[in-house]
C-alpha cells in the first residue's frame, strides 16, 4: 500500500470516528446525565453517576407518566397510521392512474413543500379553533395526515411496484381497493416500514404544533413535559435527562423492530 493511500485511509477513518463521536456522544451524555445530579452535570461531569434512582423517582412524582405516555402514543400511533393510509393511497393513485392533470397536481403539491410551517401556523390555529377542535388529539394529528413528503415518497417507491402484478390481480377478479389491500400493501411492506419509523419519530417528537393546540395539562405529550421541566428557574438537569431517556425509548424500540425493513424501504425495496 502506498504512503498516499495509507494516509487517505487514516484520514477517512479519522473522519468516520469524528462523525460517529458527534452522533453518539450527546446520546451518551444524556444517559450519563440521567445518572447524575444537576450540580454534577453543570459542573461538567461526563461519567456515569449514582443518582439514577432518585432522578427517576422524582420524575414519577412530578409527572403523571402513564397519562403523558398515553397522550404521546395516541398522537404518534394515530398520526402514523392515518398518514400511512392517506399517503400510500395518494402515492398509489398518482402512480397508477393516467390523467392529463396528474403531474400538474403533483407539481402543485411539491411546490407546497416550500411553504414553511411557521407560515401556516396561524391560519391552522384559526381554522381549528373555528371548528372547536382545540385541545384534542385530532387537532395535533390532522395537519400532518396529508404529508406531501410522504405522498412523494410513496409515489417514488410505487414506481418499483410491477404493473403486471396489478394486471394479474385484475385478471384474478380483484377490485382496485382489493388490489391495494391484498397485493400492494404486502408487497410494499418495506416501504411502509421505513415510512412508519419516520412518521412515528416525527409525531412522537412533535413539539411546536402540540404546544399551540394543547391547552390543558391532562392532554400534554412527553415532549411538552420535557420542555416544561426545562423552564424552571433552576432546571434539574438530572431530571430532564431522565425524561429525555424515557422519551427516546419508544422511538429506539420502533427503529430496532423495523430496522431491516427500514433499510430495504429506504433503498426502494419491493419484496
Amino acid at each position: 500500500m502506498s504512503l498516499f493511500s495509507r494516509l487517505f485511509s487514516l484520514l477517512t477513518q479519522a473522519m468516520l470516528w469524528l462523525a460517529a463521536f458527534i452522533s453518539v456522544f450527546p446520546f451518551y451524555w444524556m444517559i450519563a446525565g440521567a445518572t447524575n445530579t444537576a450540580n454534577d452535570i453543570t459542573g461538567g461531569k461526563f461519567t456515569l453517576g449514582t443518582n439514577l434512582i432518585p432522578n427517576i423517582t422524582k420524575f414519577f412524582e412530578l409527572v403523571d407518566v402513564p397519562l403523558v405516555f398515553f397522550n404521546s402514543l395516541v398522537v404518534a400511533i394515530g398520526g402514523t397510521v392515518l398518514t400511512l393510509i392517506v399517503a400510500s393511497l395518494a402515492g398509489y393513485g398518482f402512480e397508477m392512474f393516467r390523467s392529463k392533470t396528474r403531474d400538474r397536481i403533483f407539481g402543485g403539491l411539491l411546490l407546497m413543500l416550500s411553504v414553511p410551517f411557521a407560515a401556516m401556523m396561524i391560519p391552522l390555529f384559526v381554522m381549528f379553533s373555528g371548528v372547536g377542535l382545540m385541545n384534542t388529539y385530532f387537532a395535533i394529528i390532522a395537519p400532518g395526515i396529508a404529508s406531501i413528503f410522504m405522498i412523494f415518497y410513496f409515489r417514488q417507491n410505487t414506481k418499483a411496484f410491477p404493473s403486471e402484478l396489478r394486471d394479474a390481480a385484475r385478471m384474478d377478479g380483484l377490485q382496485e381497493w382489493q388490489i391495494f389491500l391484498r397485493i400492494y400493501m404486502p408487497v410494499m411492506r418495506s416501504t411502509y416500514a421505513a415510512a412508519m419509523i419516520i412518521l412515528f419519530m416525527t409525531n412522537w417528537n412533535a413539539y411546536l404544533w402540540p404546544l399551540i393546540v394543547l391547552q390543558t395539562n391532562d392532554m400534554k405529550t412527553i415532549q411538552l413535559v420535557v420542555a416544561s421541566l426545562a423552564t424552571a428557574y433552576t432546571p434539574d438537569y438530572g431530571l430532564i435527562m431522565v425524561a429525555n431517556v424515557l422519551a427516546t425509548l419508544p422511538t429506539i424500540l420502533v427503529f430496532f423492530l423495523l430496522q431491516r425493513r427500514f433499510v430495504e424501504g429506504m433503498l426502494g425495496g419491493v419484496k
Binding site: L165, A169, M171, D172, G173, L174
Partner: protein, 355 residues
Amino acid sequence: MSGLKLTGLRKNYGAHQVIKGVDLVVEPKEFVVFVGPSGCGKSTLLRMIAGLEEISGGDLTIGGVRMNEVDASKRGIAMVFQSYALYPHMTVRENMGFALKYAGESAANIARRVNEAAKILELHKLMDRKPRDLSGGQRQRVAIGRAIVRHPEVFLFDEPLSNLDAELRVQMRIEIARLHKELQTTIIYVTHDQVEAMTLADKIVVLREGLIEQTGAPLTLYDDPDNQFVAGFIGSPRMNFLPAVVKNGALTLPEYDGQVIPMPPVAAKLAEGAEVTVGIRPEHFRTGGSASLDLTIELIEHLGGESFAYARQGKANVITIATGTGRNWASGERIQATFDPASVLLFTAQGARVR
C-alpha cells in the same frame, strides 16, 4: 373451448391510434401467435382481449358472446405474463389458488384443482416455496399453473419466454406445445421471436403498426408471404432483398454490378424497366440451382451444423448465405452463390408481392 372473433377492433390513446381496425377469427382449440416488431401493437391487442385495456372501437366476442365491457376476470380468460407476475408474498400454492379463492370456490375444490395443475407441471416439490426461491423456469411453470387452475376458455401468453435463457426457452417452448396438446385449449400467444411463432403456432398473425399484415399457417407465411414485410419477418436468418430492374424478360441487379438473374415464374406481367425487389432466403442458396450471383465473402459464422456466409459485391447490401457445413469457405474468397430461380420471390417497389 371457445373461439374468438375480433371485428374492426381499435384502440386509441387520445388522438393516437395504436390498433387500427383488426379483424380476426380464432377457432376453438387453435394456437394463434401474434408476431411483429416492437411497437406493432401485439401486446396491446392481447391486453384488449384480456380486458386490461379498454376497447375504443369494434367488437370482441368470445364463445359468441360480446365481451367489450365485460370485466377481465369474467371473460373466461387466463393470462401468463412476461415477468410471471407471481405475488411475491404468497407461496406457490397460494399463488395458484388465489383466483379461485376470490371466485368463492370451496377450499376442497381449490386444493383439488391446484394439485391437478401441479401434477401436470410437476410442481409438487415447490408448492410451499415463495417465488423468490424459484428459478426463472420454475416461476414460469408456476405462472402457467396459475392460469391452468382457472380452467379458462382461452389462454393468453404475453412474451412468456423472453426472460429465460436460451436453453430454458427451448425447454419451455416444448412444454407449452405439450400443454396445448394435453389441455386442448384456445391459446393466443404474443412473441417477437419468429422461431417461437413458427414452432408453436397453428396460425400466425403478423402485425405492423396496429394492422394485420397477414394471417396464416407458419409454412404458408414462410413459403407464400403476401408482402415484403412478412417475407422479411418470417424466417431466420432474414430473407435477402435485392433491388432489381426488369430488362429483356430477366432481372438486372444494378447494385450488384448489373448481374442478371432469370425471372422467377410469376403470372403477373411486369413492364420493361419496372423496379422490383428480389427476395432470396439464405437457405435457398444451400440447395443450389441454375441461377447464380458472383459475390465476395466478408465473414463466415460457423454454428457447427450450419454455416452462414455474409457476402456482397462492391457497396451493395450484405447477402446472407446458408452454406450447410461450409467449412472450406473463407473470408475474402470470391464465390458463385447458386440458387433455384423458382424459389425467388418478387415484390413491387411498394413491397406488395408479385405473384
